[in-house]
């Protein structure tokens, strides 16, 4: 990264809906502009024990999941030199004793220049144990923080 102009270009590139839509299309990901940022939505069937991408923001982050018979592994990968910070804000173990989908909510902060990006990511998982497949739905909104 070199200077404010390059930083500004980087922020705009990360929040560009066309870039995210093109990269995420094979994964069932939609991307569109939302006031001051980027809105993403993805849904996918993932077979038991497969690791699969359920959120892809080129140049910033990728979220993979690996459902197992009794648990869910989550891999948050940084695609930016300064790794975004993930904070689980709700939903750990939610759904464990209910019939509702398993749900995880994160807040994501990325120190981009000239303005940082803050986002919220929600993943829900519904498992069909007998078929050995899980259905994932991901929603994310990322916004540039200008104040």
């Amino acid at each position: 990264m070199g200077g404010a102009a390059a930083g500004a270009a980087l922020t705009l590139a990360v929040l560009d809906p066309e870039t995210a839509a093109a990269a995420g299309a094979p994964h069932g990901q939609l991307a569109s502009a939302v006031g001051g940022g980027l809105r993403l939505s993805c849904h996918k069937l993932v077979e038991d024990a497969a690791r699969s991408t359920i959120l892809l923001v080129p140049g910033l982050l990728r979220l993979d999941v690996r459902p197992l018979e009794d648990s869910l592994q989550v891999f948050a990968r940084a695609l930016h030199p300064v790794p975004p910070r993930w904070e689980l804000i709700d939903g750990a173990a939610a759904g464990a004793a209910t019939d509702e989908p398993y749900r995880l909510d994160w807040r994501v902060d990325a120190l981009l220049e000239p303005h940082p990006v803050r986002g919220e990511v929600t993943v829900t998982m519904t498992v069909d144990f007998d078929r050995g497949v899980a259905h994932f739905v991901t929603h994310a909104v990322l916004r540039e923080i200008t104040t």
Partner: protein
Amino acid sequence: MDGVPGRPDMRRVALTLRADAVEEVLDRLMPLLPQGVYERALDAERTEVSFFGDGLAAAAALDALAGDDLLGREEEEVPDSREERRRHAGRAWTVSDRLRVRSPGDPPAAGAALEVVIEPAPGAFGTGAHPTTRGCLELLLELEPGGGLADLGCGSGVVAIAAARLGWEPVYALDFDERAVAAAGRNAQRNDVEVRALLVDLREIPAPPAHTLTANIPLDIHERVAATLSPATARVIVSGITASQEPAATAAYAPAGLVPQGRRIAGGWAALLLGRP
């Protein structure tokens, strides 16, 4: 998704990668592979990453993507079945640097002090990956083995088998699901340990009077177990509960004279060691 007669096979591509480079390679591969990949550790230095598809026209490009981190590559026609794909997924976890839980498809680790081999099975919770199972095993490893142990909600039998390996005797594995009881029995046999797997509904029958109980069960079942706990039971490893349920679980066992002596919290899940003061 499972293989059917007449359906053409699919192609499996298996890449052998340097273990310390897998994540960087996956950064390049995952965007190209919407169906995902199956990872399996071959040894401490090498990891196999498999992916499946009918027309892998991009396979040559994948070679270039993997670059110097690619140690080997194999391709084969395989049945188009979920079981075939699962077979190439690793399930090996190390607990407290002392215990390794793995599936039959994972190679044994060199020098591992204690290994438990678990065949994943539908209806049999317990691959060793879940935070509450890991917490339960971590607490079990801290105890001095001795006397009888009953594993309530045994699932695959992973905790009961580890207990038998560590020296508890006799060991009972209880579950209300027939599939779990069958899986626990098979896995005990596979690990060459003596574990009696029994079909028991703890909503109707009290827990057996074992010196140590491990209980990977929902909170409401813990409450029933606690209410009918035998005086012979000196300690209980409570798992299967969320971190927010810890106070309620502790309170449930308090009238039986058990107090907290250890805990593990991970991923929103809790495992507690309760014992007599």
